[in-house]
Amino acid sequence: MDLQLFLLNFPYFVAIILFSMGTLIVLTQPNLIKKVIGINILQSAIFLFYIIVGDIHGGIPPIYDPNLPDALYINPLPSCLMLTGIVVGFSVTAFALALIVKLYIYYGTISSPNFMKMK
């Protein structure tokens, strides 16, 4: 395998690994807080992925500078999209934590091994 190619696409591998890790944590960890952390890792992987998609090798931040007429700017659109993604991630985390507080009042524990069990 070409090392140069691997290094160039390195961030994509990190995004995929983080995404798989997040999914695995949500599905397998019995601790509810860890499940929420898994959700956050999963969403961070998505943010990372979008930002790399918009990145151009050697590009500069997309702020127009009259002194540099032929500057190479990176694509700002995916980064902007991820602002929405961050808001969604924040609200999901807040909602999940609120539900966990309620479950803690009912059960007295945040670790429930039977939680994902099928009835």
Partner: protein
């Protein structure tokens, strides 16, 4: 005039959103006003959506760039025949379920959450309408999240232990699902550099040979994401808990509408953005067909073993989602039309059944299917509607379910897969095995009959009594039951809408 109609779908979403944000504030002042305001909003959206449907039916397709930005840069809204039909279905069903909620919410929820319940209800409605009218994949993702989170709030509003647990499970799995969807949107953006579905289709067409693996990955991520969201068989784990522990009006909305709008969005991306060629080449069609067949049989089996009525209805939804996916997987004109028709028919049937379950719980407090003796005499109108919906579920002629199953059978003949007809009939028979015992028990047995007989007495002759539930609960149930019969006898109007869309898609 045209200018105004172009803006109407967008105004529907914005109006509903604004009304939803007013709800918690209004509830602080006067809790009694929340339900009438929600009914008013959903009712006026319903009237507007019928007007839009009338406009679209004359052969116009509404294309509107939000706030004046033309499509490749701005967000585009497209209302074609199936979309206008879906808006009418969503707002109409929400309107009637909202009328039902007047009494049901007072009975099932604590008074303090009323305002928040209606806020989540209208937010969910706005999210669903926004999802079906949007022609931009990232905008779709935003509305998917709006619908998903407010649907979780509808489940959690009951506040019991089961409901909270089911809500958290639903929230976690739905977030994984939308994570897969947004990842797939990222792949699509990598290939084409566009987010508008029409432009994706144009850009993807010349380059699809160059990126086979990326397209495969995008499609499989999309299938997993929408599969989790729409409870496609092996990914349905959240559905039975969430739908059975929610309050009855929310169960009706979740089961009838929320699961379906994701299928519409999936179908739009699959058929319009990726196109038919990729649909046939990447084996996604075979995957959908196999899983749909498994869903139709396994969902019915799972439903058969449930004792609690609402759990049985929830598993039945898993089976019925299989029917809709079967129609999409067949990919022939009749199959696709029948799948889309089944979205409509199932929305009527399942709302009717869940509302009946709620009405029975309201009057008698019974939840289990074994406690239904003599129910047909205590609540004749409710059980009559229940019987109509159950007959339609089984696929007996003159009821709506027959038309869509007949269409699916024709579609499987068109696709040269006659074995699927056997599966459709088998699944229909399985439906009969878990609905007919309830009906038989309700009409042909009487409470305390056996004990009375043992003592040597004669049971009194059965007498019909009027249902002891408020009129506001009875009217929506009757309306949904009449809708099923209307769809069964005169499916022409609706099929006309659907066939126009199928002609565009295929």
């Amino acid at each position: 005039m045209d200018e105004l109609v172009q803006r109407l779908p967008f105004l529907c979403v914005i109006g509903t959103l604004v009304a939803s944000f007013c709800m918690p504030v209004l509830a602080r002042w006067k809790k009694e006003l929340c339900a009438p305001l929600a009914t008013l909003v959903s009712g006026s959206v319903f009237v507007v959506s019928i007007f839009i449907a009338h406009y679209v039916m004359q052969g116009n397709i509404i294309r509107y760039g939000v706030s004046g930005w033309s499509p490749p840069w701005g967000i585009e809204i497209v209302v074609d025949p199936i979309t206008s039909l879906m808006i009418s279905l969503i707002s109409g069903a929400c309107f009637f379920i909202c009328i039902y909620s007047f009494a049901a919410i007072k009975h099932e929820l604590e008074r303090i959450v009323t305002g928040w319940y209606y806020a989540a209800y209208l937010l969910c409605m706005a999210g669903m309408i926004g999802l079906v009218i949007s022609n931009d994949v990232f905008n779709m993702y935003v509305f998917i999240e709006v619908t998903g989170i407010s649907a979780v709030a509808l489940v959690a509003s009951k506040g019991t232990r089961e409901a909270t647990e089911a809500a958290l499970k639903y929230l976690l799995l739905a977030t994984i699902g939308s994570g897969f969807i947004v990842f797939s949107i990222g792949f699509i953006y990598m290939i084409t550099g566009n987010l508008n579905i029409t432009f994706i289709a144009q850009e993807l067409d010349p380059v699809k040979g160059n990126y086979p693996f990326l397209i495969w990955t995008a499609i499989s991520f999309l299938a997993v994401g929408f599969g989790v969201k729409s409870a496609f068989f092996p990914l349905h784990l959240w559905l039975p808990d969430a739908h059975s522990s929610a309050p009855s009006p929310s169960s009706a909305v979740l089961s009838a509408l929320v699961v379906k709008v994701y299928i519409i969005a999936f179908m739009k991306i699959l058929f319009i953005a990726f196109g038919l060629e990729i649909f046939h080449e990447t084996f996604i069609r075979h995957l959908i067909l196999v899983l749909a067949v498994v869903a139709m049989l396994a969902g019915s089996f799972f439903a058969f073993v449930q004792i609690e009525l609402k759990r049985r209805l929830a598993y039945s939804t898993v089976a019925q989602v299989g029917y809709i996916y079967l129609g999409i997987g067949l990919g022939t004109p009749w199959g696709l039309a029948a799948g889309l028709l089944h979205i409509l028919v199932h929305a009527f049937m399942k709302s009717c059944l869940f509302l009946c379950a709620g009405a029975i719980y309201y009057q008698t407090g019974r939840k289990k299917v074994t406690e239904f003796s003599g129910m047909g005499y205590k609540m004749p109108i409710t059980m009559g509607a229940f019987t109509i919906a159950a007959f339609s579920m089984v696929g007996i002629p003159l009821f709506g379910g027959f038309i869509s199953k007949y269409g699916l059978a024709l579609g499987s003949l068109e696709a040269d897969l006659p074995i699927l007809i056997l599966v459709i009939i088998l699944s229909g028979l399985l439906n009969a095995t878990y609905y007919f015992p309830i009906i038989g028990q309700a009409y042909f047995t009487q409470e305390g009959h056996a004990e009375l007989h043992a003592e040597g007495g004669h049971p009194e002759p059965k007498k019909f009594q009027r249902d002891q539930i408020p009129l506001s609960m009875l009217v929506p149930i009757v309306v949904f039951a009449l809708g099923i019969i209307y769809l069964g006898i005169f499916p022409g109007t609706v099929l006309n809408f659907i066939n126009q869309t199928v002609a565009i898609l295929l």
